[in-house]
């Protein structure tokens, strides 16, 4: 708490003081000092404060205190502590409620003030620390400033020194240059002097030489001689002839002639060489020109469009020139006449070519620039990734191929030199063989089973056929009898029927109805064909074993497809379903109805199928 007090802002405290002073001035209270202290010191309640209060209000001065307080409070804008008196004479009474309200308000105010004070203090703390920070910053910056200033001074010093040096060097250079100039002058003068001296010396030397010559030559030196056994012939076989005054001129002319001949020959030779070279160069030039023209012609239109006014004429010139110069005769003309034209045209073409190439370059650079934009970069990345992937794949594939090759080689190698492997392989083969054999036997068994079944089926079919025969015979006889009855007792027909039905059972009765209907339906069913064959089949079934065999094989063949086939046949046979039903019901005695139907329809179908397939077979 003590710290707290010290930390408090002096400004703040002074402010409170002024307030208190003001209050004290307004009304001198007996304990104005204390109140001042109370106002000044914040709420913290110490024993001292209590003692102040006790001192402030005693039994004696309650009234005074109250009035003082009231006054004070009213100046601060609080309601009066006294009840409003109706009459002025009446003594004002203390309003307890007002007092309490005032107190409450004071307390609230006090609390608010405390809070505010707290805030202010924390802010103060913050500001203090900020201040410290800023101060340290400031000091640092000051230091920096100092150092940089020092540096600057150093640099300036160095600059100055360097400039000084530079000046010195310049001076030196100048001196050196002067020196060089001087030396050159000296050299030149020395050279001239040397030359002069040399000339002088040489003259002297020449004089001496001359003198010596005279001395030596004029002495008629006996020693100077040639001692020769005999003179030899000239290498060219001619006689040596020494020139005389007369012949000298002619000799000279001849020599001149010869010299010029030699020179001419040399020049001719060189001219020939140059001509040859020239011709070759011309050839190259012509070819180049042709190529240039062919190269430029397709894109001639473009520049013309673009720079019609400026180069259009040039281009047309070029075209003209090209047309002119492409003529062979032009090339054989001497250079001087063609040269200007030629060079001009070539220059023009070259300019066009250059501009074209530049344009292309620009395009290329543009493309490059564009290429560096986002899309292409991404595409490139993609591309790279893709290529990486592909490369990886390739590597994998290569590895695979390699391993395969290795394996193959191993196998080959082992096959060539290792018997065990071959044995092993044999073992594998044997195993496989056995396995196959087992399977084979299984198949065989299955086959046997199938055949057995088939046989039973055929037997059943034969039996059925026999039964059917018997039944038909029976029926024939019965129909015969009925017919006979009908002819005799026509009016009693229905009764007979009834009687018969009662006699032979409901199934027969139904059958009968069906049969009576059958003749009506027959023409229709004949056209269908299948019942015919069916009947045929059924008739032939018992009769010929060959057909039965055939049927067997057929059924065997169509075994797999029987289910599908059955569906189809069921539909096909629909028109005679009624007939089929009746027969079915009849045959049900012999065997299961499902299998019956299957067999039956299967047979019928197989037959038709056989027809079809027989056609197909060849």
């Amino acid at each position: 708490m003590g710290d707290w007090m010290t930390v408090t802002d002096p400004g703040l405290s002074s402010e409170s003081k002024t307030i208190s002073q003001y209050t004290s001035e307004t009304k001198m209270s007996p304990s104005s000092l204390y109140s001042q202290q109370v106002l000044c010191s914040s709420i913290p309640l110490s024993k001292n404060v209590h003692s102040f209060f006790s001192a402030f209000c005693t039994e004696d001065n309650i009234e005074q205190s109250i009035s003082y307080l009231d006054q004070e409070l009213t100046t601060f804008g609080f309601p009066s502590l006294y009840e409003e008196s109706k009459g002025k004479e009446t003594k004002r009474e203390l309003n307890i409620v007002a007092v309490l309200n005032c107190m409450n308000e004071l307390l609230v105010l006090q609390r608010k003030n405390l809070l505010a004070q707290e805030n202010v203090e924390t802010q103060n703390l913050k500001l203090g620390s900020d201040m410290d920070h800023l101060q340290s910053c400031y000091s640092k910056l000051k230091e920096q400033l100092e150092t940089s200033r020092r540096e600057m001074i150093g640099l300036q010093e160095r600059d100055r020194q360097l400039q000084c040096k530079n000046r010195n060097l310049h001076q030196l250079l100048k001196n050196e240059k002067d020196e060089v100039q001087k030396l050159q002058n000296i050299i030149a003068s020395r050279a001239t002097q040397y030359n002069h001296d040399m000339k002088r010396k040489e003259r002297e030397y020449n004089k001496l030489k001359e003198r010596l010559h005279q001395l030596v030559m004029n002495k008629k030196d006996k020693k100077i001689a040639m001692d020769i056994l005999n003179y030899v012939g000239r290498a060219d076989g001619k006689r040596g002839s020494w020139r005389t005054g007369k012949t000298e001129a002619s000799f000279f002319l001849r020599n001149e002639d010869e010299m010029y001949k030699i020179l001419l020959n040399d020049y001719e030779y060189r001219q020939k060489q140059i001509l040859m070279e020239n011709a070759e160069l011309k050839k190259v030039l012509q070819q180049m020109k042709k190529e240039m023209i062919s190269l430029l012609s397709p894109q001639k239109k473009k520049p013309r469009e673009r720079v019609d006014d400026s180069t259009g004429t040039v281009i047309s010139d070029v075209e003209e020139d090209a047309g002119e110069l492409s003529r062979e005769s032009m090339w054989d003309l001497s250079c001087e006449t063609v040269r200007e034209q030629l060079t001009n045209s070539i220059r023009k073409q070259w300019r066009i070519l250059k501009s074209h190439v530049e344009k292309l370059d620009n395009q290329v650079s543009k493309v490059h620039l564009e290429g560096f934009n986002d899309e292409d970069v991404i595409s490139r990345q993609d591309h790279e990734q893709e290529t990486e992937k592909l490369e990886l794949e390739i590597q994998q594939c290569k590895e695979m191929i390699k391993t395969q090759q290795q394996l193959l080689q191993q196998q080959l190698a082992t096959a060539y030199d290792d018997d065990t492997t071959s044995l092993l392989r044999d073992c594998y083969l044997l195993e496989e063989k056995e396995r196959l054999k087992e399977e084979w036997s299984l198949f065989k068994e299955q086959k046997k089973n199938f055949e057995r079944e088939r046989r039973s089926f055929t037997e059943a079919a034969i039996r059925l056929g026999l039964e059917r025969k018997a039944f038909e015979e029976e029926r024939a006889s019965w129909l015969k009898q009925q017919f006979l009855n009908m002819t005799t007792f026509d009016h009693q027909n229905s009764e007979n029927v009834k009687l018969f039905s009662a006699f032979s059972g409901s199934s027969d009765w139904d059958n009968l109805i069906v049969h009576s209907r059958q003749p009506q339906k027959k023409p229709h069913s004949v056209s269908n064909g299948s019942p015919v064959c069916m009947s045929k089949l059924t008739k032939s079934l018992p009769a010929s074993p060959s057909t039965s065999d055939f049927c067997q094989t057929r059924s065997c063949i169509s075994e797999h497809s029987s289910i599908n086939v059955l569906n189809i046949t069921a539909e096909e046979i629909k028109p005679n379903q009624v007939g089929g039903e009746c027969t079915n019901q009849k045959w049900s005695v012999a065997s299961r109805p499902g299998s019956q139907e299957g067999c039956y329809s299967g047979c019928s179908l197989s037959y038709t199928n056989s027809h079809v397939e027989k056609d197909d077979l060849p």
Binding site: Q184, I187, N195, M198, K199, E202, R203, N206, K209, L212, H213, V216, M217, K219, D221, K222, K223, I224, A225, M226, D227, I228, L229, N230, Y231, V232, G233, R234, A235, D236, R239, G240, S241, W242, R243, E248, F251, F252, N255, E256, E258, M259, Y260, I262, L263, D266
Partner: protein
């Protein structure tokens, strides 16, 4: 490669006859003429004093032996051994002697270059040419032997006189714009004469046969100039080597410079093959040394052997610090030679004395550099093919061809060499011996070269 036996020799005087049939050599005051094939002595002539210079006549019929000390020239005939001729220059003295191209005249230069005496062997006539210039190369004959150009000095001015060799008539006489003419040289076609100035000034002038100035070329000023000049055999190029270590090639049409070849000590271009001679420890191998060493007949030799190695590219060659305050400093291009087919140019930079540079003239670029262990003394092209023989004064002969190069152990210390006309053999001259070296056609060298070919 085979070698003949070693013969005695003095003053490095050994020459093949121009027709390639004979070999003349001198031993003190004796002149020995041998058959090139059998090496048997055909003639033996005795001169009056120690021979200082010999020269075959162009028709290989006569040999001239000069004894400068005594001012004597003796001429010997190969056909008539008994024939003799002695020319005495008397008190005038003798400093040079040479044949005229017809082989019937001898040109003797007297002491102090007072005059040139032309002695005829056909007639008893003597003619004098006055004022010859005392210079390095003052006399030059055209290749066809028709004309002679002579540098003269009169009244402190340089002149060139062109004589017709058949009758020694003066054809042209003109002054040259030179300070101090140093050399003249005919182009092989005989139509252009190159004239170059003293080394104090870079200046080369080209004159036509009729004395017209065709062109003047100067690369720079205020520095030492031309050191060596060589015409290409095709007369198409003129190579000018100078003290700045560069060779400049002039063309024959405009006489302008086509290119210049610098000779830096550091070679950085990876295209250039640098062959470096390396000492090989003697116990390693015998016989013919090359890279790789082909087996040849030579027996074990006492001195250490060497071979060429291909140096990896940033190569720095051994340089010589020239003494610049003395006359004739060892800098600049001192030796220049075109191959007979004009395809290659061999050069030596005198401050990189161990190296020979071979330039490709077709492509105008450096082709190869050969660095030997000791300074190159001489090199000469094979007259028949682009093959360069180099000697360094040691007991090794170095051969280069475009396919590669090799170093061969030879008897004696080779100071000089000269090829036979056919290119099949060459004479290797040492201080007091010489031997013939027979190159076994292309078989051996070719295979060696082919093996080398992979590296080039």
């Amino acid at each position: 490669m085979n070698f003949s036996e070693v013969f005695k020799l003095s003053s490095l005087l050994c020459k093949f006859s121009p027709d390639g049939k004979y070999l003349a050599s001198c031993v003190q005051y004796r002149l020995v003429v041998r058959d090139v094939n059998t090496l048997q002595i055909l003639q033996l002539y005795t001169c009056l004093d120690q021979i200082q210079h010999i020269e075959w006549s162009a028709d290989s019929l006569f040999i001239l032996c000069a004894m400068y000390k005594r001012g004597l020239v003796q001429v010997w005939s190969l056909e008539q051994p008994e024939w003799h001729c002695k020319i005495d220059e008397g008190s005038a003295g003798l400093v040079a002697s040479c044949w005229s191209p017809d082989g019937r005249h001898i040109l003797n230069t007297t002491e102090f270059h007072l005059r040139i005496t032309v002695w005829s062997l056909c007639t008893k006539s003597v003619s004098y040419i006055k004022y010859p210039k005392a210079c390095l190369q003052g006399i030059t004959f055209t290749r066809d032997g028709r004309y002679m150009a002579l540098a003269e000095r009169r009244d402190c001015k340089d002149y060139v006189s062109i004589f017709v060799c058949s009758d020694w008539q003066l054809l042209r006489h003109f002054d040259t714009d030179t300070q101090d003419l140093t050399g003249i040289e005919w182009a092989p076609n005989g139509c252009v004469l190159a004239v170059w100035d003293t080394c104090l000034e870079y200046k080369i002038l080209l004159y036509s046969l009729d004395g017209r100035l065709l062109s003047t070329y100067s690369a720079y000023e205020w520095s030492l100039g031309i050191k060596s000049v060589a015409w290409s055999p095709s007369s198409q190029f003129l190579a000018v080597g100078s003290y700045d270590g560069k060779v400049r090639i002039l063309n024959h049409v405009t006489w302008k410079m086509i290119t210049e070849f610098g000779h830096p000590a550091a070679i950085n271009d990876p295209k250039i093959v640098v062959y470096k001679e390396a000492e090989k420890s003697p116990q390693l191998g015998l016989g013919c040394l090359s890279f790789p060493p082909p087996r040849a007949g030579a027996g074990p030799l006492p001195s250490s052997e060497s071979k060429y190695e291909i140096a990896s590219v940033p190569v720095s060659l051994q340089t010589l610090k020239p003494v610049t305050d003395r006359a004739n400093p060892k800098i600049g291009i001192g030796m220049l030679a075109f191959s007979p087919d004009s395809y290659f140019l061999a050069t030596r930079n005198d401050n990189i004395p161990n190296a020979v540079w071979v330039w490709d003239i077709q492509k105008l670029r450096l082709f190869a550099v050969l660095e030997q262990l000791s300074p190159v003394r001489a090199f000469q092209w094979d007259p028949q093919q682009p093959r360069l023989a180099i000697c360094t004064g040691g007991s090794r002969l170095y051969l280069w061809s475009p396919a590669g190069c090799m170093s061969v152990q030879v008897p004696g210390e080779v100071l000089s060499l000269c090829w036979h006309l056919s290119g099949d053999s060459m004479a290797l001259l040492s201080k007091d011996h010489f031997c013939l070296c027979f190159l076994e056609t292309e078989a051996v060298v070719g295979t060696a070269c082919r093996q080398l070919g992979g590296h080039t």
